[in-house]
Symmetry: C2
Subunit: 200 residues, 2 copies
């Protein structure tokens, strides 16, 4: 009843599934993803959706990975033209605030949603969430370290403290945007990050 599609078309189908899955997950969590809902939304059969991932767990992980890649494209890569260190760090932070202020996904940052959703549940999904957060934090830490080495930040600067406060600002911004629709929060996050970097 259904003609087979070419390998390229199958890849496109997979991409459409993941795009829709990321939208759903951003609003309702990775557990809000349902193969039946995806099938209905994309006008295909449940088994057609299922075939691309094999298990729901794999679908969830692929969705998270896709969201992280999109995040990286928008936040980190545009800043790679800046010199490593404080310049690049400031660019990355600015992009991340912009991202949280006007997210690609309707329910905000999926990494943030997945963090609190899966931090208490052992398994492959949790591991994937931890991996993604680890990579993001390492990206920030690298430029913080370089900035200290280049004396763009003072000697004895507490890198881990700054990292904590930058992450904190992002989490609070996402919460303020999603729960309270507080559009002033982005400027608060920018100020908080600036203060974290301009410590005596």
């Amino acid at each position: 009843m259904s003609p087979r599609r070419s390998a390229a078309e199958a890849l496109a189908t997979r991409g459409r599934i993941l795009s829709r899955a990321a939208e759903i997950a951003s609003e309702e969590g990775l557990d809000g993803i349902t193969i039946g809902r995806l099938a209905e939304a994309l006008e295909m059969s449940k088994s057609g959706v299922h075939k691309h991932f094999g298990t729901k767990e794999s679908l969830q992980i692929s969705t998270l990975d896709k969201a992280f890649v999109d995040f990286w494209h928008r936040v980190v890569e545009p800043a790679l033209g800046e010199h490593p260190g404080l310049r690049r760090l400031r660019a990355v932070c600015a992009n991340s605030v912009d991202y949280l202020e006007a997210p690609l996904l309707p329910g905000g940052c999926l990494m943030t949603a997945a963090l609190t959703e899966y931090d208490g549940r052992p398994g492959r999904v949790r591991d994937a969430v931890a991996e993604v957060w680890s990579r993001w934090q390492e990206q920030l830490r690298t430029d913080l370290t370089v900035a200290v080495e280049n004396a763009e930040l003072p000697d004895g600067f507490d890198i881990d403290q700054a990292l904590f406060e930058i992450i904190a600002a992002g989490l609070a911004l996402n919460a303020a945007m999603q729960l309270q629709h507080d559009r002033t929060a982005a400027d608060r996050a920018r100020l908080a990050i600036e203060r974290a970097l301009s410590r005596p």
Copy 2:
């Protein structure tokens, strides 16, 4: 098959249901609560559990309310002996960091988990989450305001910015504890809060 219990015993049963529900929800979210699991854990029937709340939505809201009351007992009330203003604010903040460092619930702070879980889903549960967060923020804001009025904080002090940074520290602490089991995060949160309050 089951003898009826007294009103007092029924209240105790309700309390046991909510305690177990809060534990589950802290680890797996408010959606992780299922009537069947609660019935099994408490060795009673599904309909027995169901009877106390009428709908699952009410059970979820009651669970959140119970967790918030426990939070309040441990974080806010012990600080009410301090003078309103900066003293009380510092006590409340210290208690909240202690709470996040060693939470009553196995999966950490339920208010935080519920925040990201329901911020994108309209309905009574989301309203309850927003209410709970609003009350917590108002508690903090009140003492910040008093502190400025009493000149314990400098004139022109940005109350909303400090509030943002205090909330941010709590969210980041919860994330660090739950995802990475980072026991150093509590001290980072304490320092972040102190810095938010000691701005020039």
